[in-house]
Subunit: 253 residues, 2 copies
């Protein structure tokens, strides 16, 4: 994503400097010289680099990041610098050609002016931006990413179970399940290290998974009790989400 955003900022007319493990330019030198420092790092080494560059950042500068989690990360930046801080989470991968139509979550840290300017920059490039507190961002992402991957991993493992013939599954796939298998297949493009950090690092992962499991237990009881009426009532409740979800997606596109 670092490379992707380097190209993005160059195209937007900025002069871009890069410090990496193989560059002569050190993170400190870069942080001292730039108006905006964008951290694109594995979350494991993120705190070390923030500790290293935070204190040398000019007060008028902006420190921001591209991490998939924001609560610990924005706090870490606030703790180690007195300059302006904004958290950024681009909700797409480096396979996308353009930012147009893609989502970017922006979390306030310190400094209103930079926040407004930063969001306007993405909007001018037709990204869909939304401002979230770091806490609300992580809480929501526990459902969007941690729970989503939890479900996909359990489904994937279940499909590899002895006695299940995956060819038969594909030959009998309904349109709904075929779509589910497509989502599962997309996992092969993802980075297991990043997803481990997202799953283990999000403070709300447990709560999202536990909520899913609460309903899993409830539904299993309904099924083992052969309670047809209760099953239909749960099905109808979930169906009510449909028009709401479809309306949202239609308005977006």
């Amino acid at each position: 994503m670092g490379k992707w955003f380097s190209a993005f900022f160059s195209q937007a007319g900025f002069e871009v400097m890069i410090s990496d493990i193989d560059t002569e330019l050190t993170p400190e030198d870069l942080a001292r010289r730039c108006d905006i420092t964008v951290l694109s790092l594995p979350m494991e080494i993120f705190p070390d680099v923030v500790r290293q560059i935070g204190p040398v950042m000019p007060d008028a500068a902006l420190l921001t990041d591209l991490c998939s989690l924001k609560q610990t990360q924005v706090q870490c930046m606030l703790d180690h610098t007195s300059c302006n801080v904004v958290g950024t989470h681009p909700l797409f991968g480096p396979a996308e050609r353009s930012i147009q139509g893609r989502r970017v979550a922006i979390c306030p840290g310190r400094g209103q002016r930079w926040l407004v300017w930063w969001e306007a920059l993405f909007r001018s490039r037709k990204a869909k931006t939304t401002i979230f507190s770091p806490e609300e961002h992580d809480r929501t992402m526990a459902w969007v990413q941690a729970l989503n991957h939890f479900i996909l991993l359990c489904l994937g493992k279940a499909l590899e179970e002895d006695g299940i013939n995956l060819n038969h599954v594909m030959e009998l796939a309904t349109p709904s399940f075929e779509r589910q298998l497509h989502i599962l297949a997309r996992l092969c493009h993802q980075d297991p290290e990043l997803y481990a950090t997202i799953q283990l690092g999000n403070p709300y992962t447990g709560s999202a998974i536990e909520t899913f499991n609460k309903y899993a237990r409830q539904l299993m009881e309904i099924l083992s009790g052969r309670n047809r009426r209760e099953f239909i009532s749960m099905f109808r409740e979930v169906q009510e989400l449909g028009p709401y979800l479809l309306k949202h997606f239609e308005e977006e596109h």
Copy 2:
């Protein structure tokens, strides 16, 4: 689906007769006079109608059905008639305009000649047909339908939980989760009664859900133990499904 297939068979050049609750033609009269009788009924009343018409079917005729489950249904037809029997499961809904490219599962019952002819009829109309034993059909459908709906219902209920802001979820949806929400939204077009019967009537529902839950428990242990290495190893295992699934879908399209 009865209406849909009535149009399909008419277009294929057959003379179609219909017996329904509001027709003068009784099921017995129809069964006596037709070469092929196709049962399109709620699974709840299916056995009653089979008992009613099975004994009057001419030995050279074909009795078939459109039920979503096949093990009990094919056995029921075999038990109550001495004519030819084939189980049919069209894996699509009446919203489809054409059978072209759609899947149809065909289950042998009694009589090889009708089976071959029946499959050829669908193939000539460009449907994707596959022959399954009734047992293998239901076992596979427990994963494709019962487990799929189990997951979708639990996810839907979890998204309605207090403290979850569905607007935030949609604003932060990754491409993967956005696809998941689209599958969820499609549930509003389905018939809760039919899905209750599929969920409660498939003898393999419990086994599919239990397998999913086995891995859910395993993954929750990995997460609560903060076992990063094990998480990555599970993620990599599931990723291996990707190329296999993608290859299958590419070959189909």
